[in-house]
Amino acid sequence: MAAPNPHDTHATTEAEGHGSGGLPQFQTEHWAGQIGYLLVLFFVLYILIAKVFGPRLRRVMDERRDTISSAVATARQVQTEAAEQAAAAKAEVDKARADARATAAAAKARVTEEANARQAAEEAVVNARIAEAEASIGKTRDAAMANVSTIAADTTAAIVERLTGKTATAAELTAAKGAA
């Protein structure tokens, strides 16, 4: 960069401003002022944080932790209560169901018993009627059977008379019936 250059002149003037030419951080004539001032600032900030800001923040955070832990404890308690209530409700429902089942079973047994009893009674009545009917049928049949032999004798007599022209005696008729 041999050509005259505005940047170059700028740089030279600044380099002159630096004095020794090294890093400006090593210009020790400015150290004491900075160090003293920084110590003051540090001390003031330390006091502020130790006495004001630190305790304030810690208080808020402790408060928050307490709030959260108490809320969690409450929630846990409520949850336990709810679980207990749910268990109680379940037990109640189970008991009610068992009761209902027992009642239903009892009712069914009673109804079955009644039905059986009624059925047995009706059966007895029906059987009696059947027996009666059978007895009357038997009687009628016997009577009919008795009539049958008379009819047979009459018929035989009538047939014999027509065929032979003679009337058969009662004794002959009976003998013939026995032979037939």
Binding site: N5, A15, Q25, H30, Y37, Y46, F53
Partner: protein, 262 residues
């Protein structure tokens, strides 16, 4: 191209004259740009904490959440590193953290970064190490020197390990000061140089100087670099403050819990 070092120059705003101090020698007393930036950081912290804590609610707002997360983070650091006594040292570490963080972050917006001043980082480091030494002697008396007599090492090796421990203890303030100083210095120099490329090469392309028309792609590339480094510097600004706080806690822990399971 603009001088990348110029941004670190202390400039007097109000001159208060010069004196000769015993340790520092010739000293210029003045309200400088460094003082103004430090004050801005301080005021920003106080306002932030005031907003965070004044209307503090159990259910926090956005700002309160931000403040509380910083608080929680440093509280966690002191608590987990120092242990039960951590709360006693929390204000110190939190003050350290907030001041470094505010000065780092402010440096991303203002033209001056106090933490890129060696005097400032040396002050932080000296404060930390002096507190460590003070607490060490108050809590342990001369037992403080047990720090350099590692009981866990075999007897023959103990003087050697002790010497190394002593040397590393001496280097602690130096590394504390130089780590922060170097990070801030390097980051801001890199930013300035890349930004300078953008302007110098971009302008050169139109006037026909420098790389001419070829300066444009380089300028564009530099622009991307500036954006990337800016993002990185925000990360570094936070990280260095956090590292400072963590290291201060570790050094404090060494003397607070001296001889308890080293």
């Amino acid at each position: 191209m603009a001088d990348p070092i110029h941004q670190f120059q202390i400039q007097k705003v109000v001159d208060l004259g010069a004196v000769n101090l015993p340790v520092f020698g010739h000293t210029e007393l003045a309200i400088t740009n460094s003082h103004i930036a430090m004050t801005a950081a301080f005021v920003a912290i106080v306002l932030f904490l005031q907003f965070v804590t004044s209307g503090a609610k159990v259910v926090p707002g956005r700002l309160q959440t931000a403040g509380e997360s910083l608080f929680d983070m440093i509280d966690g650091v002191t608590d987990s590193i120092i242990g039960h006594d951590g709360r006693k040292y929390f204000p110190f570490v939190f003050t350290l953290f907030l001041l470094v963080l505010a000065m780092n972050l402010l440096g991303m917006f203002l033209s001056f970064t106090p933490t890129s001043q060696l005097a400032v980082t040396v002050t932080f480091a000296a404060l930390t190490i002096l507190l460590v030494i003070g607490v060490g002697f108050i809590k342990n008396g001369l037992g403080f020197f047990k720090l350099f007599w590692p009981m866990s090492a075999p007897l023959i090796l103990r003087p050697v390990v002790g010497a190394i421990e002593f040397l590393s203890f001496l280097l602690r303030p130096v590394t504390l000061a130089l780590r922060l100083f170097g990070n801030m210095l390097g980051g801001h120099v890199a930013l300035k140089i890349f930004a300078g490329f953008v302007v110098a090469l971009g302008a050169g392309a139109f006037v026909g100087e420098g790389l001419g028309i070829w300066g444009l792609p380089v300028a564009a590339l530099s622009m991307v670099g500036v954006v990337a480094i800016t993002a990185l510097e925000f990360l570094v600004a936070f990280l260095q403050a956090f590292v400072f706080a963590v290291l201060a806690s570790i050094y404090l822990n060494d003397v607070v819990n001296l001889g308890e399971g080293h």
